[in-house]
Each structure stands twice: as structure tokens, then as C-alpha cells.
């Protein structure tokens, strides 16, 4: 590795993860290696249950890995002290696949964003609420959203709340797990544009089933299948010239106007 090339923002080496369920091991991840460069957006697509969320959760430190290595900015996260580990992880944010479950049911939306900002050193409630209001407006939520509770929103609205919360601190890495799946196209555009604004400083791990969104948003794409990485390449490569049969079938299945089942 040449000294000159800056280390990738996130690098995953030979990651495996297995869960024990009813006495059996379920291999969620099987030797996955990939890297997300600075200000790069890596799309992760693949079969449902192929380990995408698990990968994301391990990257942000929510899940332990069975084996392998994770490097933040070239430093193995397992090799550093607790404080540094926390400091590094603090620069990562995650947008959960289940937005509702990831919101505290007893806290208003504004308050939840405040808590996130507060954890990043911005302690003033009024200031944080103002930030929250701006963010919520940008994700297309009504004005009074900050004062409402999670259950008062629609599925898509909750997803947008989760996005607003995740980007509020300006993280350097965002794991977006199905971040826009519940959004209709018009709002999705808006959200993706918003997320794209951060692209200059933020690396994205963009997990999605929506091939169009991935195609539009990502620099590179990694395709996962049964816990393995089957193909990796630039967006154009993957979309226009997929090599792996699974990728091909994936692209083939994208719904389109003009085909009828």
C-alpha cells in the first residue's frame, strides 16, 4: 500500500459474522472485504437476508464480528483504546431499516434530534431545536413535526425523521440502511439531493433494494448474495455490464413501466 494514497474512510477485511439460533450457526456474513473511500458512496445491493444490515451494524459498532477486521481511516478499530474507539465511532451514523423502532416512543422528534446533537457537543436546546426545525423542513415534514411523537407519523415520514437525525451531526460516515425505501419518488428525489449535498465530506454506505436510487446516488456498487460479496465495481460497470449471474437477475427484475405481469 502506497503511503501517498489516503486510507479509505472505512475498510472491512475478511469479515465474518455468525449468529447462534436454536443451537445452529447462521452465517450472516462470510468473508466480506470492501472499502469506502473518503467522500465516496458505496451502494450495497443484494438479496434480502444476505447480510447487508448486519454489515452496516458492525461498521457502526452495534454488533460484534465473529472474525475479520474493520479499519477506520486505516486504523483497526479493535486495536485502539475505548476512548479512541468511541471517538471514531462518533463520526459514524446509521439510518436504520426500521425507522419506527429506532425512534424513542416517549420523546418528541425535536428532542430526539436535540439529544443526538447534544451528544456531539452542541448543548443548547434552543439552538438544537432550531437546527432540528431546519432539517425537518428540508426532509419535507410539516412545521409542527418537531413537537410530535413518532407514532403520529406515517411510515415515510418516520424514515425522513431518521434521516434528518442521522445527518444532523454532519458525520463523516453514514450507513443508510434502506433509507429511502418507504418514500415515494418525488420525495425520494428531494431526500437524495439532500444527502448528496453532504457528499463532499461524507462517505456513504448506501444499502438499498431500489436499483434506481442506487444507480443515481452511488459511485460504486457492491452486490451481496448469501453473506458473500459477489461483485463490486463502479455503478456504470455493474448496471450496464453485470458479471455475476445474481446481479444480472437482480437488474432484470427491476420493475418498469411497460411490462405487465
Amino acid at each position: 500500500m502506497a503511503d501517498q494514497t489516503p486510507a479509505p474512510a472505512i475498510e472491512v477485511r475478511d469479515l465474518t459474522k455468525s449468529f447462534r439460533v436454536n443451537g445452529r450457526d447462521v452465517h450472516a456474513l462470510n468473508g466480506v472485504s470492501l472499502a469506502v473511500g473518503h467522500a465516496e458512496t458505496l451502494g450495497i445491493v443484494g438479496e434480502s437476508g444476505s447480510g447487508k444490515s448486519t454489515l452496516g451494524r458492525i461498521v457502526v459498532g452495534l454488533e460484534t464480528m465473529s472474525s475479520g477486521e474493520i479499519l477506520h481511516e486505516g486504523t483497526a478499530i479493535s486495536g485502539v483504546g475505548r476512548a479512541e474507539r468511541n471517538a471514531r465511532l462518533a463520526k459514524c451514523q446509521m439510518i436504520f431499516q426500521d425507522p419506527y423502532a429506532s425512534l424513542n416512543p416517549r420523546m418528541t422528534i425535536g428532542r430526539q434530534i436535540h439529544e443526538t446533537l447534544r451528544a456531539h457537543g452542541s448543548r443548547q436546546l434552543a439552538h438544537n431545536l432550531a437546527t432540528a426545525a431546519v432539517l425537518l423542513e428540508r426532509v419535507g415534514l410539516p412545521q409542527d413535526a418537531a413537537g410530535r411523537y413518532p407514532h403520529e407519523f406515517s411510515g415515510g415520514q418516520r424514515q425522513r425523521i431518521a434521516i434528518a437525525r442521522a445527518i444532523s451531526t454532519g458525520p463523516s460516515v453514514i450507513v443508510a440502511d434502506e433509507a429511502v425505501s418507504a418514500l415515494d419518488v418525488s420525495i425520494r428525489e428531494q431526500i437524495l439531493d439532500l444527502m448528496a449535498e453532504l457528499k463532499g465530506t461524507t462517505s456513504y454506505l448506501f444499502i438499498s433494494h431500489d436499483m434506481a436510487a442506487v444507480a443515481k446516488f452511488c459511485d460504486r456498487i457492491a452486490v451481496m448474495h448469501k453473506g458473500r460479496l459477489v461483485e463490486q465495481g463502479t455503478t456504470r460497470q455493474i448496471i450496464s455490464a453485470p458479471q455475476d449471474p445474481y446481479t444480472q437477475s437482480l437488474l432484470e427484475a427491476v420493475p418498469r413501466i411497460g411490462r405487465r405481469r
Binding site: 449468529f19 447462534r20 419506527y100 407514532h151
Partner: protein
């Protein structure tokens, strides 16, 4: 799994040992000693007698020595003999243990039988008259001192109706003390059930269960009660552990020959070996029940299981 259980049992054992040694020290710090207490009641508190007996019972030894000696003997299964009456402690306690367990189980069972439906009714009728009525009953149950309730039961069921004997330790006699314990503890169970249930009835998965067309009672009993029981079980388990240490008031009122009465007597007489023997049993029941609780969390709540 086997390894896990074995490790749990080992830590449980160590916990009990620590308790016993600590208790052995603590007990000597408590003012008053068995000999003075004994002689003060004998009408012969002669100073010479006190010194003589203190030495004869080995109570003039340093405290730590006594505590370790006791723990050592206890490890070999010897809990010693009582100072009053010179009876074997283990036998004395084990004779009463079944009575105590029976009362704890019956009392807790009654509390559950009374409390869970009450909490259930209150939660389902939240904010309505039934909710308030249940709360009122529950609170009456917990505010009335146990001895008062017990004595009233005796007056009504034993004296006036003649259904149960006033005193004794038998299957027939367990009804009233179990009822008393049950009423006292049902408040906690009822309020806890209600609290958990109210939260859960708002969950989306209850809506899903309804959408599946399940009968309302199925929705409530299976989908809502199962998760609600997690917090109820915690509380109930802890109460049960406590009950296994005997219920002095209830045992007294109903002349139930349980461990609690024996223990308090031992405590007041400073009958050290008996007190320590009791603590061994009490600690064992606490540790066993809490260990079981920790395992039970996993069973009841799969989300906690993997941890």
C-alpha cells in the same frame, strides 16, 4: 448450556458463602449477645454465669475466627446446634422449610390469581370506573397491615363461620394465610400488570394480532399478556424469593410453623447458629430465585436471550 448452568451454580455458591461470612461478622456487631439475652430471661443473670457460659459457647473468640469457623463447618454441611435448646440447626430449619415453601407458593399463587386478572381488567378498561375500582381494591390490600387483615379473616372465617381452624400448620389451615399474603401482594401484581399491559396495548403488534382476526381475548391473553408478564415476573420472582425467607407477620397471626417466626425469634435471642443457618437458607433461596429469574428473562424475552 451445561457449562453455563454449572458456572451459575458456582457463582451462586460463592455468593452464599460471602453472605454467610459477612453475616457471621455482622451478627456479632449487633448489640446484645445470646448469653445475656438468655440469662436476662432466666431470672439468674449472674455475672459469673455470663462469663462462664460465654466461654462455654466459644463466644469469647475473636469475631473473624468465629465467622470463618462457622463458614468452614457450614461447608461441611454442619450448621451447628442452637444456643437455646441445643437442637441441630439444619434439622430445625429443614423441618420448617416445607411449611414456608408451601405458604410462599400458596400466597404468591393467590396474589397472582387475584392480581393478574385485576391488572388485566384495569388495563383493558383504562380510565373507566373498573380501572379505578380495581386500583382502590389493590390499594386497600396493600395499605391494610397484614396482621389486621389476617386477624379479621380469623374473626370472620374461623370464629363466625367456623370454616377453618384458627391455628396450626396443615393443608386446611393454609387457606387463610395464603389469602392474606395473596391480598397484600396482589396490589403489586395488579398494578404492575396494568402498567405493563397499558404500554403494550398501544404497540403495533397488537394491531397486527387484531388484523389477523384473533378473538379479543386471544389478542389480550397471548399477544399482550406474554410480553407484559416479563416485568410482572421480575417483581413476582423477587417477592417470591423474599417470601421464601418466611413471613413473620402472617406466620404469627395464623400460627404457621414456618421459618420466619423461628428466624425472628433467633434474631431476638441472638441465637447465632440459628440466625446464620437461617441466612444460609434465605440467601440460597434468594440466589436460586434470582438466578432462575435471569434465566427466565431469556425465556420470556427472546430479545434479551442472546446476551
Amino acid at each position: 448450556m451445561l457449562f453455563y448452568v454449572a458456572r451459575r451454580l458456582l457463582t451462586a455458591f460463592i455468593t452464599i458463602l460471602v453472605v454467610v461470612i459477612l453475616a457471621g461478622v455482622l451478627i456479632h456487631v449487633v448489640p446484645g449477645d445470646p448469653i445475656t439475652a438468655m440469662l436476662a430471661q432466666s431470672g439468674s443473670a449472674d455475672a459469673d454465669d455470663i462469663a462462664r457460659l460465654t466461654a462455654q459457647y466459644g463466644l469469647d473468640q475473636p469475631v473473624w475466627k468465629q465467622a470463618l469457623l462457622y463458614a468452614g463447618n457450614a461447608l461441611q454441611g454442619d450448621l451447628g446446634t442452637t444456643i437455646r435448646g441445643g437442637e441441630p440447626v439444619a434439622e430445625l430449619l429443614l423441618d420448617r422449610l416445607p411449611n414456608t415453601i408451601a405458604l410462599a407458593v400458596a400466597g404468591l399463587g393467590t396474589a397472582l390469581v387475584l392480581g393478574i386478572p385485576m391488572g388485566f381488567i384495569a388495563a383493558v378498561n383504562r380510565g373507566r370506573a373498573a380501572d379505578f375500582a380495581v386500583m382502590l381494591i389493590a390499594i386497600l390490600g396493600v395499605s391494610i397491615p397484614g396482621f389486621w387483615m389476617g386477624l379479621t379473616f380469623i374473626q370472620v372465617f374461623s370464629l363466625h363461620l367456623g370454616w377453618f381452624p384458627v391455628a396450626g400448620t396443615s393443608a386446611r389451615n393454609i387457606v387463610l394465610p395464603a389469602l392474606t399474603l395473596g391480598v397484600v401482594h396482589s396490589a403489586l401484581v395488579a398494578r404492575m400488570t396494568r402498567s405493563a399491559l397499558v404500554d403494550i396495548l398501544n404497540e403495533d403488534y397488537i394491531r397486527t394480532a387484531r388484523a389477523r382476526g384473533l378473538r379479543e381475548h386471544q389478542v389480550l391473553l397471548v399477544h399482550a399478556m406474554r410480553p407484559a408478564m416479563i416485568s410482572v415476573v421480575t417483581v413476582v420472582g423477587l417477592v417470591f424469593a423474599h417470601l421464601l425467607g418466611g413471613q413473620v407477620i402472617t406466620e404469627n397471626v395464623f400460627s404457621w410453623n414456618g421459618i420466619g417466626r423461628l428466624a425472628i425469634q433467633a434474631m431476638l435471642q441472638r441465637d447465632y447458629p440459628l440466625v446464620q443457618g437461617f441466612i444460609v437458607i434465605f440467601a440460597t433461596s434468594i440466589v436460586l430465585v434470582t438466578t432462575a429469574l435471569d434465566l427466565l428473562y431469556g425465556l420470556l424475552d427472546p430479545r434479551v436471550r442472546r446476551r
